[in-house]
């Protein structure tokens, strides 16, 4: 039987807090973008709309990633993480990370900063990581089914 530890509950609380925070931050982006833009030394103020759109879409993507993590954590705490649903969640997280990679890669060509490149690389690694985990979970489900049907 799956043993729950304090770490699992703390991780779940952190994921939950981050999820609700990301919703709040994403909703506030259109209202705070101009102020945020003022802090960054952009050469051209006409980038404000593109910057706002980029941050807003990033916020939506992060919220979606955290939502999928939240759901997967629930299955982990229930003691049955190796399900086809979780394989689907990993696929969705991988696709979302790839979308983020594309956004920040495009931004690298429009207005290059080292931070943008780092973010693009991190999300590319995240995409590959989630794709690998998806395949690992698929195989684990096969082993689990095989074991369950061994009398």
């Amino acid at each position: 039987m799956y043993k729950k530890s304090l770490t699992h509950y703390i991780s779940k609380i952190v994921v939950d807090v981050l999820f609700y925070l990301s919703i709040l931050c994403t909703v506030l982006v259109p209202f705070t973008a101009s102020k945020l833009f003022g802090w960054i030394d952009y050469p051209n103020q006409s980038y404000l709309v593109a910057f706002t759109a980029m941050i807003f879409v990033s916020g939506l993507c992060c919220t979606y990633i955290l939502f999928n993590l939240k759901v997967m954590f629930l299955s982990l705490l229930s003691g049955n993480p190796f399900t086809d649903e979780n394989v689907g969640h990993f696929r969705k997280i991988a696709v979302t990370c790839f979308v983020m990679t594309v956004i920040y890669t495009v931004k690298c060509f429009v207005l290059f900063t080292v931070a943008t490149l780092v973010i693009a690389v991190i999300f590319m690694v995240g995409t590959l990581f989630c794709l690998t985990l998806k395949d690992l979970f698929k195989q684990a489900i096969n082993y689990k089914t095989e074991n369950e049907l061994t009398i």
């Binding site: 095989e146 061994t150 009398i151």
Partner: protein
Amino acid sequence: MSIVVNLDVIMAKRKIGLMDLAEKINITPANLSVLKNNKAKAIRFSTLEDICKALDCQPADILEYVKD
């Protein structure tokens, strides 16, 4: 599937029900039902031994290979 489990035939011959056999060999009725209905992917030798002991038969009485 190529391996057919004829457990129901032997159980009928020995006049023993699913629940009784499951209790005798110490596995759940659900698992025994999976085996009886040819849904199992594998069987442990220990389980096969227990079934043969309980039903006083040979593995060949329970398992049959059928060409596809």
